[in-house]
């Protein structure tokens, strides 16, 4: 039986991909960020050893153009290549999918009245590949298979926190009913506070971000009811990506144990945060 053994929330800033690809992870600017992920990299390699990661992220106008905007798209393909976001694709390994698990989750979710879009072939952008690099460094092949779950957090309205949390709960039930013995993690990525547009660009909110991390750790589900406007006012126009962390958190059940937590300001325009949680 497959089971979700842990969840990670993490930022997915494109510049971190550049740092990895150009070997700058130890320099003065990036050092403190990558050191914060050190514990997690070791834990993944030596202790957690997931077989599959359900990687919740958003497509940043890479696989989906302005023509088509799926609220929730689940990747049911066998392999995904790194997208060319305007400066050539990142030189990272192809991402191997898990079509069997992905189709099982997709079917289960539709039967639980989530209106999924199934996608088979797509390129994956920094939203997916940067967390992979942060967690696994620069191996010749990624040590896990990935079920990509792309959430629209660009065009409003994006899904509510409540809907995201409920989706996470349904994903956990779906994984549990998959007959193969698999160690599955779920990652929610994006955020934390950042605004990439307009005169207010550069907004960061250390206090709010840390309150959000606190909420994820506590058993209560107050985080699911944070309205869109609060993310927008408090965390910048791109902070809304944090609703994707709620899919991860919803999948872990009522209570969690925090294994690791890290926060650093800034990386490029963004507040970097990450948290590692286990179902309690």
């Amino acid at each position: 039986m497959a089971r979700i053994t842990a969840g990670i929330g993490s930022s997915h800033v494109p510049l971190l991909g550049v740092a990895v690809d150009q070997g700058k992870t130890g320099d003065e600017y990036f050092g403190p960020i990558f050191q914060g992920y050190e514990w997690t990299r070791t834990w993944l390699e030596t202790t957690a050893k997931p077989d599959v990661v359900i990687l919740v992220y958003n497509d940043h106008a890479s696989a989906f153009d302005a023509n088509i905007i799926p609220t929730f798209a689940i990747g049911c393909g066998d392999v995904y290549k790194s997208a060319d976001e305007g400066w050539g694709p990142r030189p990272v390994p192809d991402v191997e999918g898990h079509a069997g698990l992905a189709w099982h989750i997709a079917q289960s979710l539709i039967l639980e009245e989530f209106d999924m879009t199934i996608i088979n072939e797509m390129d994956v952008d920094h939203g997916l590949t940067v967390p992979m690099s942060m967690m696994f460094g620069a191996p010749a092949a990624w040590p896990v298979r990935v079920v990509p779950l792309a959430v629209n957090v660009v065009t409003y309205p994006v899904p509510s926190g409540n809907r995201c949390w409920a989706l996470g709960e349904a994903i956990a039930r779906a994984v549990q009913s998959f007959p193969e013995d698999l160690n599955v993690q779920i990652w929610g990525t994006g955020g934390m506070s950042h605004q990439l547009q307009g005169p207010r660009a550069g907004l960061l909110n250390r206090e709010w971000d840390n309150r959000f991390l606190d909420l994820l750790e506590t058993a209560g589900d107050a985080a699911r009811h944070i309205p869109h406007i609060e993310y927008l006012r408090e965390t910048g126009s791109e902070g809304i990506e944090m609703v994707m962390w709620l899919i991860m958190r919803g999948a872990l059940g009522h209570a969690v144990t925090r294994l690791h937590r890290h926060y650093h300001i800034p990386c490029s325009n963004t507040a970097i945060g990450h948290i590692v949680l286990e179902p309690a």
Binding site: A61, D84, E85, E234
Partner: protein, 139 residues
Amino acid sequence: MNSALGHQSIHEYLAEFDDIPGTRVFTAARARKGYWINQFAMSLMKPENRERFKADERAYLNDWKLSEEAKEALLSRDFNRLLDLGGNVYFLAKLFSTDGLSFAEAVSTMTDMTFPEYREMMNNGGRSPEGLRSIKGKY
């Protein structure tokens, strides 16, 4: 019935988005308006299109259903103007990446700071939300 709206109407939900200083939320209305700006920008994901665009920007833009205003804003890299015309930063990123600009540098051009000033602000903890959360509420 589940709803993210609570006691709000959708009109109230959307109206709140206009109450944030210096921010254009990428609503359906903006997505509609900026459709071809964003589709043009995505075309720059292909290296051959980037080459054609760099060789003659104006000629390349003429192949798209863009207003003269949009073309001028694209040619002059006036990103705030492009936001007003319905452009979205993740689409426009293909344009500034084609130019070889980082996110931080491109984003700084939308503020009232130079890039070095912006970078310094970020290194000092970023822009505080204080007073920038609500136009009406002034908090």
